[in-house]
């Protein structure tokens, strides 16, 4: 089970309180996790990555295991600790803008 931590506004939008838990089929990557997230919570479509290009929105960052994964390729495997559910995949609103 993959754990995903969302920023406050996206938790409100998705009507969830804490972390989201997702079943991800196949390789666990940014793309497969976000695909599973949007399938389970379609109101988040477009809020994390562009509807068409599927690129990360400019003020969104992805962190996990104390690493910034924002600029990793979307199909790169996520850390084993995320795959095993020991660590969450963090979707973070960039600090820019306060």
């Amino acid at each position: 089970m993959i754990r995903v931590a969302l920023p406050t506004h996206l938790r409100t939008l998705a009507h969830v309180d804490g972390e989201v838990q997702l079943e991800v089929q196949g390789a666990v990557t940014q793309r497969s996790v976000l695909d599973a997230l949007e399938a389970a919570y379609p109101m988040l479509c477009g809020a994390i990555r562009d509807h068409v290009t599927l690129k990360r929105r400019p003020f969104i960052r992805f962190f996990a295991c104390e690493e910034d994964l924002s600029h990793e390729p979307p199909d790169a495997p996520l850390p084993e600790a995320v795959v095993s559910g020991r660590e969450p995949f963090l979707v973070v609103g960039a600090i820019a803008g306060g």
Binding site: E38, A39, A40, M43, C45, G46, H51, R57, F59, I60
Partner: protein, 395 residues
């Protein structure tokens, strides 16, 4: 007894202010969508309980919200509360946030660039919905004016959106450029007596009109003069801030341009300046009295460099002669140390017998006058900066 419902969009959420027809005691509900920018909310004239809201964020993008009970509850169209959020096939139903420019060869001549601040060409990039305009006859049809400038339409209650590409594709798009607030389509006027006619305005491109329901468009800027563009009388490039119309007289339009208050008596074919004795003719908001089509309201702002009222005194100016002759309205408005702005979509009128006028400020006040502008009082003092104000007159 009649009621009024004021819909205020702010930098940190939406607020709904309701009163009976006396408009003296107000109930405030909100913030709805706390923490998000609410650029605009508007009710359907065909079903007053149907409200649309543009919820937006620089971080998380565009969300469209809808209420079918007058603002008590909200949902994203396509995902009503309690319903599964995916289709039986498992596909997401959250299409309502999706504004994708039409790039097909079948439906228009899609443009790829417009003029940027520095004069170079820049690709169109969707940022947010500035204005939602529900159809006067069909609660499920609603138009959206967006940044970067384009017009979209939904015919299914806001669930899915399609661009009307004839506007961007009509030919002048590469000359459009962003105003200080971005390249936004901020004004949409639907002519209730002529279903094919739509008037829109873009900063900074100008005004445009369609007479065939949005398929084809033409610029309607003859008579506008703007010193901040190379050719002051160019066909496009003017920073139109807002346009207002009295539905009973749809061919008469009033415009607050960047500088200059303008009037057209021929649905925008030509414009004449009616700034007259205004102390400054810079401003954003403009509206027309519900029952007196020659009575117009503006809020003069000092200049484009100083977006606040002259001398720290907040004033509405009223013309009862369709422009040129303006009277200062100050009763109940701040007399000193007032340095707020009133944004383009932040003024509205109700249609009660004694027409009510409303406007919101960037200081978080919503002012109301229940007597056509003679006396003003603040319904609320301390909201976040107000981006938009709309009013519904309810039975």
């Amino acid at each position: 007894m009649s009621k009024v419902r004021v819909l205020a969009g702010t930098r940190k959420g939406a607020f709904i202010l309701t009163s009976d027809g006396k408009r003296q005691n107000w109930e405030v509900s909100g913030p709805h969508f706390a923490g998000w920018e609410l650029y605009h909310l508007k009710g359907s004239p065909a079903d007053p309980n149907r409200l649309y809201a543009s919820q937006t964020s620089g971080w998380f993008g565009q969300i469209i919200q809808r209420s079918d009970d007058g603002g008590k509850t909200w949902f994203q169209p396509g995902t009503p509360p309690g319903e599964p959020m995916t289709t039986p096939e498992g596909f997401p139903k959250g299409e309502s946030n999706k504004f994708v420019y039409d790039t097909s060869t079948e439906t228009g001549k899609p443009l790829t660039t417009h003029q940027f601040y520095d004069g170079t060409q820049h690709p169109w990039e969707f940022k947010r919905v500035w204005h939602l305009e529900p159809s006067p006859t069909d609660p499920d049809t609603v138009y959206a004016g967006v940044e970067d400038a384009a017009i979209f339409r939904s015919k299914d209650g806001g669930k899915t959106w399609q661009e009307l590409p004839g506007l961007r594709g009509h030919g002048t798009g590469p000359q459009w450029q962003p105003g200080a607030g971005g390249m936004c389509l901020h004004t949409i006027i639907l002519d209730p007596s002529n279903p094919g006619r739509i008037v829109i305005a873009i900063s900074a491109a100008g005004a445009f009109r369609s007479d065939d329901g949005g398929q084809t468009w033409k610029p309607i800027n003859r008579g506008l003069k703007s010193r901040y563009i190379p050719n002051p009388e160019a066909e496009v490039g003017h920073c139109v801030h807002h346009i207002a119309m009295n539905p009973a007289r749809p061919n008469v339009l009033f415009m607050q341009k960047h500088w200059d208050v303008m009037r057209s008596d021929d649905a925008g074919e030509s414009w004449q300046e009616v700034s007259g004795n205004l102390p400054t003719d810079f401003g954003f908001a403009i509206d027309v009295h519900a029952h007196e089509p020659e009575t117009v309201f503006v809020v003069p702002i000092k200049s484009d460099a100083e977006h606040y009222p002259l001398d720290g005194k907040l004033r509405v100016y009223r013309s009862r002669t369709g422009g040129n002759e303006w009277e200062e309205l100050s009763n109940g408005l701040p007399e000193r140390n007032c340095y707020v702005n009133v944004l383009r979509d932040a003024m509205a009128v109700d249609s009660l017998d004694a027409c009510g006028i409303y406007f919101g400020t960037t200081g978080g006040q919503v002012y109301a006058s229940a007597d056509g502008g003679d006396y003003w009082s603040a319904i609320v003092h301390d909201l976040p900066p107000v981006l938009s104000v709309e009013v519904q007159t309810l039975p």
